[in-house]
Assembly symmetry: C3
C-alpha cells in the first residue's frame, strides 16, 4: 500500500507513492514502515527513526529527520489505530498451502490446522486444538486439548502447552476518539515461544502489536497466567499460578514470580529476581538476584519488617 493511499484513508493529503509494508515503533521501524509520535516523551526517538514516514502533529513536524516523510495530522495515535486495520492479515486465510505435518507426529480428531502452517516431527496435537494459519511448531512438542494458537505464532521444540491455553490472542490496544469510541489497534505481531517451555492450563498470552511477544527457552508458566502484548519472558523464568504481566514488560533470565504476583507495563526486571506471591511491581528492577514482596513493592526482608511494624499498630 502506498503512502498516498494510507494518507487518503485517514483524510490527509500526501502524494508520495512509496510502498509501505507495515507499522512499527519509532526506533524499530525500517525504511518501508510507517510510525507515529503521540507523546513528546519520545521526541528523541523521532530524531533517530529510520521509518519511511511518521504520523505527527504540526507542532512536532519540524523534528522529523531527513529521509522520513511527515504525515501531519491532529491525532497521530488515533490515526495509527485506523491505519492498523489496513495491515491486519485475514482472520482466516482463504488461500495458502495445506499444513505440513512432520513424521511421527500424532494429530487427534477435531483438530484444525491452518494454511501454510508447519508442525514438526514427533509432536502430539490433541483433540480440539486450533492451530491458525502460518503457525510454526517445532519437534517433540505436546499440545493438550482445546488449546488455541492464533495465526503467525511460533512454538519451539520440546514444549508442553496444557489444555485451554490461548497463545496469540490480540493485545489490549485501542485509541479513543473524542466522542468516546474506541478504535482497535490491530495486533499485527505474533507470539514466539522458544524450546523446552512448559505452559500451564487456561493461560492467555497475547500477540504483539508490532513484532513479537517472546517466551524464551526453558521458561515455566503455571495455570491461569496472563501475559500482555509485547512482553518478554526471559530464559528459565518461572511464573506461578495466576500471575499477570501488563504490556511490554521484560523479565530477564531466571526471574521467579510467586502466585498472583503482577507487574505494571513497560518495566524491565533484572535477572534472577524473585517476586514473592502477591508482589506488585510498578518500577523496573535493575539489580539482579534480589527478592521483593508486597504492593507497593519492598525488598522482601524490608517487607517482612514492615509487616511487623504495621501489626504493632494494633497494640
Amino acid at each position: 500500500m502506498t503512502l498516498e493511499e494510507i494518507a487518503d484513508f485517514i483524510g490527509i493529503n500526501c502524494q508520495e507513492k512509496k510502498e509501505i509494508t507495515g507499522l512499527n515503533t519509532l526506533l524499530d521501524s525500517n525504511e518501508n514502515q510507517l510510525t507515529f509520535l503521540e507523546n513528546k516523551k519520545y521526541l528523541s526517538d523521532l530524531k533517530n527513526t529510520k521509518a519511511a514516514a511518521v504520523l505527527v502533529t504540526s507542532e512536532n513536524a519540524s523534528e522529523v529527520p531527513n529521509g522520513t516523510i511527515a504525515l501531519i495530522c491532529d491525532e497521530p495515535y488515533l490515526n495509527l489505530a485506523k491505519i492498523s486495520k489496513l495491515f491486519a492479515p485475514n482472520v482466516v486465510e482463504m488461500d495458502g498451502e495445506k499444513p505440513l505435518i512432520g513424521g511421527g507426529t500424532k494429530v487427534m480428531p477435531n483438530v484444525y490446522i491452518g494454511k501454510d502452517s508447519v508442525v514438526g516431527s514427533d509432536c502430539t496435537i490433541m483433540a480440539g486444538v486450533f492451530i491458525g494459519d502460518n503457525v510454526k511448531i517445532g519437534n517433540n512438542t505436546i499440545i493438550y486439548p482445546n488449546v488455541t494458537i492464533y495465526r503467525d505464532c511460533v512454538v519451539g521444540n520440546d514444549c508442553i502447552i496444557h489444555a485451554g491455553t490461548v497463545i496469540g490472542s490480540d493485545g489490549f490496544g485501542f485509541a479513543n476518539t473524542k466522542d468516546g469510541k474506541y478504535i482497535k489497534i490491530y495486533q499485527n505481531g505474533n507470539v514466539t515461544i522458544g524450546n523446552d517451555v512448559e505452559i500451564g492450563a487456561n493461560c492467555a498470552i497475547d500477540r504483539a502489536v508490532f513484532k513479537s511477544t517472546i517466551i524464551e527457552d526453558g521458561a515455566r508458566l503455571d495455570n491461569l497466567v496472563h501475559i500482555a502484548h509485547n512482553c518478554k519472558i526471559g530464559r528459565g523464568s518461572i511464573l506461578t499460578g495466576q500471575v499477570g504481566l501488563a504490556g511490554s514488560t521484560i523479565l530477564n533470565a531466571y526471574v521467579v514470580m510467586g502466585g498472583q504476583s503482577a507487574t505494571a507495563g513497560h518495566l524491565e526486571i533484572a535477572p534472577f529476581t524473585t517476586i514473592a506471591a502477591r508482589g506488585g511491581v510498578t518500577k523496573s528492577i535493575t539489580e539482579p538476584k534480589k527478592s521483593w514482596a508486597g504492593f507497593p513493592l519492598f525488598e522482601h526482608k524490608q517487607w517482612l519488617k514492615l509487616q511487623g511494624k504495621i501489626s504493632n499498630l494494633l497494640k
Copy 2:
C-alpha cells in the same frame, strides 16, 4: 406450571390454579411470576411487589400486598432454590429449528450451533466454538476458537470474542439446607452483550439468575476477567487483565478497572470512575470521575500518601 403444582413440589398446601411462568425478584416480578422474601431488609420491596405469589415466612406474611398470594414456608430461599429447577430449560434442546446463519458468515469446522439460534451476516465463527440453543449473534462479529456461548445468550454487532472465553455459564448460586447440603439455584437468566464489544481470552461471564448479565456497547475486557451473575458493565467501560466482579454489581459508563482489581457484590460504581490495579471496591462509589486505589479502597492520591506514611514506619 400452576401455583398448586409448585406448592405441592415443596410440600406446602395451596390450591390456586394460577399459571406461573418464572421466578424473579420482588421488584422485578410481573403478575405471572413467583418471588420470595428471605431477608427483612427487603420488606419495603415486598410491599411493592407485583408478583403473582411470594414465598414468605409466617412472620412476614401479613406484609404481603393485596393481589399477591403468600406461599408460607419456613425457608423461602431454600424453597426458591428447589423451585428454580422446575423452570430450568433443558441443557440441550431436543426440538426446535435449525440455526439460521446470515449471508457472508464463515463457519469453520468443529463448530456446534444449537436449535433456534441465529447468527447474523458477515460473522466469523472459528473452529471449536460452541453456540448453545436460542442464542442470537449480530452481524460482523468474530468468535475465536473454543469459545463457549451458553443457551439463550445474546451478542451484538461488531463484537470480537477471543479464544477460550465462556459466556453464560451458571452464576454461583445455591441455598443451604440445615444438614449442610447445597441446593443449586438454577440460573435461568442469560448474558446480553451489546455492539462493538471486545472480550479477551479465557474470560468467564456468568448468566443471570433472573433476567440478564449485561455488557453494554463499546466495553473492552482483557484476558481472564471474571464477571459474576447479574452484573452490568456500562457503556465504554474498560476491564483489564484478571479483573473480577462479584454478583449484581453495576459499573456505569466508562468505568476503568486496572489489572487484578475487583469489586464486591451488589455495588454501583459511578460513571468515569477509575480503579487502579489491585484496587478492591467494597462500597458503592457515587461520585463520578474519581480515581481510587488499594484494598481497602482510598482515593488514589490519599492512597499514595498513605503508602508514604506506612513506609515511614520502617524509619
Copy 3:
C-alpha cells in the same frame, strides 16, 4: 521396571532385580515403590518408610531402615525427576478398550472419549469436551463444552463442570540441574472429584504428582479457580472466583474462600474456616470456625481494626 534398570538409567550401580511399580513419598510408598529424601526435615519419615528403595545422599544413607534399599546419589530430587519419566503413562494410549457409555447419557458432536474410559448413565457430555484415557465419570453428571479432563481422572455422580475448565493438567513440578535446566517431574497421579460437586468456567485443577488431588463431595468452585497438585478440597467447601491454592494444601470440610483469596502450599485449614476476599493464607489454621482476612492474614475483626489504625496514619 527393576531397580537395576532404574539405577542404570540415572548412572548409578545397583544389581537388585526387584520390580518397582511407581514413585511415591516416604510415608506413602508401599513395598513396590521407590521414594526419595532430599531435605533433612523429612529424616523421621525416612525411618518410617516402607518403600522398596530410596534415593538418598551418602550423608543420609545410614538412616535408611532395614528392608529398604538405599540408592545413593548426589541429587536425589533431580534423579527422582529423571526417573519420573520412566513411569509416565502414554499421553495418548494406543491400546485399550473402547469407552463405555451408560444408558441415557447424551454425547454431543466433537467429543473425544479415550480408551478404557467409563461414563455413567444419564450424563450430558457437551460438544468439544475431551475425556482422556482411563477416566471414570459417574451418573447424572453434566460436562459443559470445551472442558478437558486428562487421563486417569475420576468425577463422581451429580456433578456439573462448566465450560473451559481443565481437570488433571500437570502439576507445576520440576527439579533444577546445576546448569539451570529444569527437569520435569512427571505428574503420575490424578484428580479425584466426589459427588455433587459444581465447578465453574475456565478453572484449572492440576493432577497429583503421586496419588490424587481431591475434591470432596458437595464442594462448590466458582470461575477461574486454580488448584495446584495434591491439594484436597474438603466436603462442602466453597471457593469463589479467582481463588488460587498452591500445592499440597488441605482444606478441611466447609471452608469458605472469598474472591481472589489464596493459600501458600503445604498448609492445612481447619473446618468451617472463612477466608475473606483477597485473604492470603501462609500458615496452617488449626482452630475451626474462625474468619480471617488480609495479607498477611489476621482474624477478620483484627484486620478491620488494623485497617482503621492504618488509615489513622493519614491524620
